[in-house]
Amino acid sequence: MAEKITIDHGVVRAPTSMRRSRPEIEKDAAHPVTVTIDGLETEVPYGTPILDAARMQGIKIPTLCFHEDLCIAGVCRICLVEVTGHSILHAACAYPITEPIEILTNTPRVRRARRHMVDLILSEHVGECYSCWRNSNCELQNLAWEYGVRSYKFGHSSEPRTEVDRSAFSVSREMDKCVLCRRCIRTCIDLQEVGVLEAVGRGHETKIGTFMDKPLGNVVCINCGQCINRCPTGALRARDPGDDIWDAIDDPKKHVVIQTAPSPRAGMGECFGLEPGTPVTDKLNTALKRCGFDKVFDTNFTADLTIIEEGTELILRLYKALVEGDEAVALPQFTSCSPGWVKYLEHFYPGMIPNLSSAKSPQQMFGTLIKTFYAEREGIDPENIVSVALMPCTAKKYECNRPEMCDSGYKDVDYGMTTRELARMIHQAGIDLPAMPDTEFDDPFGGATGSGVIFGATGGVMESALRCVIELVTGKTVENFYDHADIIPVRGMEGLRLVEIPITEVGPVPDIIKHLVPNWDWLLGAKLRVGVAHGTANAHKVMEDIKAGGPFSECHFIEFMACPGGCLGGGGQPIPTSPEIRKKRAEAIYAEDRGCEVRKSHENPAVTKIYGEFLTDGPCGEKSHHLLHTHYVARGKYID
């Protein structure tokens, strides 16, 4: 049914557009080059970096500034290798093979120079490992071990030199631990095209800085936390609410509830030695109960609710624009569940805020419902409820602290917590997650649908919305159009996707929205055009395309996720991250979807119930508008 339109889409790997200055030789498989690496002769495509060629031969060259998601920097000089006949050593990551060469990766010169690089970095890397949050998951620590560092040849200091920047709700910076690998810069400028971080100063005064050295809380940072995921050391971290949550759990007066999003469940296993892509949802529920959380809820419930609210909003916009001819209606409608994307839009495209769906994100919808619907139903004073959200996301910390997020009369969500932070709590509690028995989610929200689960992957919100819209409009099940209700065209890891769905038949308008639209006749023969973008660099492309009147400007609905891969690649997910790891997490998410009994948001019994019992004036009604919708701030790029 759906037709995928081929467009000149972006790639997940960092574009070099902003850094055409860092040209890389392109690989050309049609022209193989013969190389010898440590005596092993092999053929590689023209332009293959020495690092890749060596890995193909099972030779591991240590790296620090290299990251699979980022353009090549070649600055740490750890991956040094010798090329026979060359007087100097080369950085394996930055040296493309264009002619037959002999490479030596393990010579006395190479070992000594690499060791020197490690020693030099350690001389400026302030602090001790045991007080560092990256202890036991640090690339520098690993290098020091590999290179047998037993003493600091060129000194080492434990005296702090710079103040930790804790100004932002999401990301804090401890520059004493920075090794100037510039992954954060390449993440911020190239991968995300936000551009908050850049190298400033020269020589030994070089450091990573913000505009005019302003604190991170006061620049155009979107809190995506992608820099944290790619920092090899402990220089960048998320603000950890762990201790506050323990205090709440230990306080008998407090009723501590936690909602868990699908992506942490696909990633949490990595923090316990499991392969990426091992889902641990039901084990995690047990672990959370044992940690002392009073209730464990599934964020997917409000993901389903988001689909209903956001979908209804879209239908209303389309109806106003197409039937009533209201030219003021902003289309395409943009999704609003990614708080990093929302802040990106507020900073960089404030003029397009009207396009943003007013529906809150699932986290915030849940927060409001817990302190209203749930508190009422259970007879608990909302004052005593501590609401925690387990998220793959650092921007969620910022989101729950937005001043407008208090529609319940209290702070709707008290703490946004990342996968990594909860993993540490579970470790502290002495819980061996993989060994846990299964437990189901707590009522009254219960388990959710597969549609909620796939919110975690790029294209998931769109797929969920389409499953819902197709059924509501045609009156037929989506399986009539797509096998197993898998809407494959919106899935995948391409940076941008554009899909066209012709509406060839319509059915009766379902009861739930009958008061809003009389019939579907106006949609018959129309083509629903939807877009998907993940990573703000791709969002940037879409926004520029819309401004220029390109194909995305003709879309009706576009899903945006700030993080590459969607939420499963969020800034709060386990470190490391790579395209391969994200792919495996996505597989876990789609597997969970397939295993769900109910896979469509509008069929979620808890959703039907809440509209029946609590939000009685229906989707986009007055009550839901008050509790489940929000507004945005035109921030612009110019900060005081």
Binding site: S21, P23, Y95, T98, R112, H116, G203, E205
Partner: protein, 404 residues
């Protein structure tokens, strides 16, 4: 205008840039490259890359817009000969750039002028305008169909590293001036990722001279691998500091005699990225195959403390490293700390050995030519003046007695 002593015998005085350009205008690209290659002219900025080969690579590279870039970011400490060339022979330089443009098929030229030379800008702009008025820049240069080229002046902002050709291009593109990874090389992926020729001011001037006089004329002086004359900026403890034109292959001894520095203790040849030559090595030749230089010669008299020399150059390097790669950014600070330890007599022989090894690693591991040579002065001082610098530790030589 800064007045400096300039050797009266500069070859450039006798050159006619118009004749050079005319000769090139009458030749094909291949013929120009052949002529320059036959002269064996090598880059006068110090690295000594064969100019003809560089032009050939660029002429073969494919690109919609090729560039000829003149590196006038004369930032090497102790170098001031480009300033003299730009002041007195700008037309020769511009002719050289135009010749290169014809050789490689470039239509745009950029002259990257050192920030501290802003006062030269106006004169250079006037010279460019005159060339446009005379039909020596623009479309159909010298009436030759398809010979199109113009030159813009862009200002540097005082970063030493921007003299490194890829950092210079980054700076020209509006980025932070930091060297790039190579390959790809500038000749095929340079300015705006297009094929580009980057040469030193003096190289362009010599290229123009060669077009007028022919490659044989150029090859008469010099050595096999280092042909022709070279301009030297000579300063320090000598009688006649200034700009000299001397044949490559001249010994340090002969050079010192020419400038009135016979009683020198040491000379830094090649500026901050050069090396220190001691008396025992004064018979060595100044040329690419022995002691290479971009033209800077700084002479130290008998009263100079070589640790002060090392400290001075390392302070420069610590500040002027672009800060990108680990060995150059951090390594040089360790070398500088070691110099200070030596000055205080607190550096053990074992630590000095470790630091010398580190210096070698800086050379092997750094990303760009500047980083690779950043420890050279220190290393050559340790090598040649070991007794003097370790003397402090033994208490044998008081630093005060060394300072005159």
């Amino acid at each position: 205008m800064i007045k400096s002593f300039v050797d009266k015998k500069l070859t450039f005085r006798d050159m006619d840039p118009d004749v050079s350009l005319k000769a090139a205008a009458d030749m094909s690209s291949a013929e120009i490259i052949e002529t320059v290659s036959a002269s064996s002219l090598r880059g006068r900025g110090g690295a000594g890359f064969p100019t003809g080969a560089k032009w050939k690579f660029c002429s073969r590279a494919e690109g919609d817009q090729k560039y000829v870039v003149c590196n006038a970011d004369e930032g090497e400490p102790g170098t001031f000969k480009d300033r003299v060339i730009l002041t007195r022979f700008p037309h020769l330089v511009f002719a050289g750039m135009s010749i290169a443009a014809r050789a490689v098929g470039a239509t745009r030229g950029l002259l990257y002028l050192r920030g501290e030379y802003t006062y030269l800008r106006e004169g250079l702009m006037a010279a460019l305008q005159k060339r446009r008025d005379d039909g020596l820049l623009g479309d159909e240069i010298m009436g030759v169909d398809g010979f199109e080229f113009d030159i813009e002046i862009r200002m540097g902002s005082g970063a030493y590293v921007c003299g490194e050709e890829t950092a210079l291009i980054e700076s020209l593109e509006g980025h932070r001036g930091e060297p790039r990874n190579r390959p790809p090389f500038t000749a095929d992926t340079g300015m705006n990722a297009m094929p580009s020729v980057v040469n030193n001011v003096e190289t362009f001037a010599w290229a123009a001279a060669i077009m007028e006089k022919g490659p044989e004329w150029f090859r008469v002086v010099g050595t096999d691998q280092s042909t022709g004359f070279k301009l030297f900026s000579v300063s320090g403890d000598i009688d006649r500091p200034g700009v000299y034109e001397l044949p490559l292959g001249i010994t340090v001894q002969e050079l010192l005699a020419a400038v009135g520095g016979e009683n020198a203790k040491a000379a830094v040849i090649g500026g901050a990225s050069g090396r220190v030559v001691s008396q025992a090595e004064f018979n060595r030749k100044v040329c690419y195959e022995d002691v290479p230089t971009g033209g800077a010669v700084i002479v130290f008299g008998p009263g100079r403390d070589m640790l002060d020399v090392a400290e001075n150059f390392l302070e420069f390097m610590c500040e002027e490293s672009c800060g990108q790669c680990t060995p150059c950014r951090l390594g040089n600070t360790k070398l500088l700390e070691c110099v200070r330890m030596l000055q205080e007599g607190t550096c053990s022989a074992a630590y000095l050995r470790e630091i010398v090894e580190l210096g070698e690693s800086i050379h092997l591991a750094s990303k760009c030519g500047l980083g690779q040579s950043s420890g050279n002065i220190f290393l050559s001082i340790v090598e040649n003046f070991r007794e003097e610098i370790m003397g402090r530790a033994l208490g044998a030589v008081e630093p005060a007695t060394l300072r005159s």
